[in-house]
């Protein structure tokens, strides 16, 4: 374990790169899907109900963002950027 509990923000990876990381970790079979989402994208790679505008959006700092404020149905992937804010990647 390192002594430094936090790193500077990771450069944003492209979708293909994120998916490669995700698939690789999934293939190892030792991490949950949620942990993989957090670790590779600060996100939830999950199925979602129909997207909704005006939802409990990802514009605040930290874990307040449990809902993606926009986008279409299907995968619901958020991305943290500097300052810890979550934004909709799509």
């Amino acid at each position: 374990m390192s002594d430094t509990p936090s790193k500077e923000n990771e450069p944003l990876a492209g979708d293909d790169e994120l998916q490669d990381r995700r698939r690789f970790l999934q293939g190892m079979g030792k991490w949950s899907g949620a942990a993989i989402g957090a670790a590779v994208a600060g996100a939830w790679f999950g199925g979602a109900p129909e997207a909704r505008a005006g939802a409990w959006v990802n514009r605040r700092v930290g874990g307040g963002a449990w809902i993606n404020g926009g986008g279409g149905g299907g995968a619901w992937v958020n991305r943290r950027v500097g300052g810890g804010a979550w934004i909709n990647r799509r």
Binding site: S32, W44, W56
Partner: protein, 266 residues
């Protein structure tokens, strides 16, 4: 920071929310009638409902599984051990609208956490100042979150801490758990703020000036004195192990990705 990242949101009792026309805000509902009213007619600016004491009310969830406006719901369990079996009522609701479950890390919470995970519903786990039994539960919950194939939806605070330890954003437990009043402003029945916006900063400053163990703590950046509230003398030995588990997982994932030659943060 994104341009929107500093925006705050108010958490308003339903009775006071009736007088509000400007958002963003979350409405706190405790009665089926309130729940029905806000589900059916939420004006712009209402970003969700925080629902207390209704998880056992099947009629309420029948209403929530319908509706034209898919207003998000944060369903709060006060006693996870007694209430966990009622989570099945949320299956249809979670198809119709975003649902999250919030619960304290009280005895029996693992049953609720496992069921929520099986239903793929996100969870916000409020650790408070965990005693020995609750700490053991949190350790188990952290391992469950990290490694169980059933867990696909986020479990806070593990999820955001793991992301931050991987360099994907930053924040503190106060923000991850939506308890920083600078951003999540809880109001009383008259609209008054329950905690000052600078509460976290003031709290941490006081701890440091009083020589609390936070000073040299390597987890201070993430914790920000969270576990020293309300009792500033709480012994953090156990919760430091929780942080260490998440840090080890972040480091191990970095090594896994490096071993697979998958591009990873420097």
């Amino acid at each position: 920071m994104t341009e929107e990242s500093g925006e705050s949101i108010a958490f308003l009792p339903a009775s006071f929310a009736e007088n509000c026309s400007e958002g963003p805000f979350i409405v706190i509902v405790r009665e089926r009638e309130e729940f029905s009213r806000w589900l059916g007619d939420a004006p712009p600016g209402v970003e969700g409902l925080e629902v207390h004491g209704l998880v056992g009310d099947s009629e309420a969830w029948g209403l929530a599984a319908q509706g034209r406006v898919p207003l998000p719901l944060d369903v709060v369990l006060d006693d996870p051990r007694a209430e966990f079996s009622a989570l099945y009522r949320l299956v249809d609701v979670s198809i119709a609208r975003p649902v999250r479950i919030t619960m304290p890390a009280r005895p029996g919470f693992m049953k609720a956490l496992r069921l929520a995970a099986a239903l793929r519903i996100p969870v916000r786990l409020l650790p408070g100042q965990p005693d020995e039994e609750a700490l053991a539960g949190l350790m188990e919950a952290a391992q469950f979150y990290l490694h169980d194939a059933m867990v696909e939806a986020p479990v806070e605070f593990f999820h955001s801490v793991l992301a931050s330890f991987r360099g994907l954003g930053s924040g503190t437990l106060w923000t991850f758990l939506e308890q920083d009043p600078a951003i999540f402003s809880r109001r009383d029945a008259t609209g008054g703020v329950l905690q000052a916006p600078d509460f976290v900063e003031t709290h941490l400053d006081r701890l440091l000036s009083n020589g609390a163990e936070c000073g040299p703590c390597v987890w201070r950046r993430t914790c920000a004195g969270y576990f020293k509230w309300p009792d500033p003398n709480y012994d953090c030995a156990g919760v430091k192990q929780l942080f260490a588990i998440l840090q080890s997982a972040a480091d191990e994932i970095t090594l896994d990705l490096a071993g697979g030659e998958i591009p990873s943060p420097p």
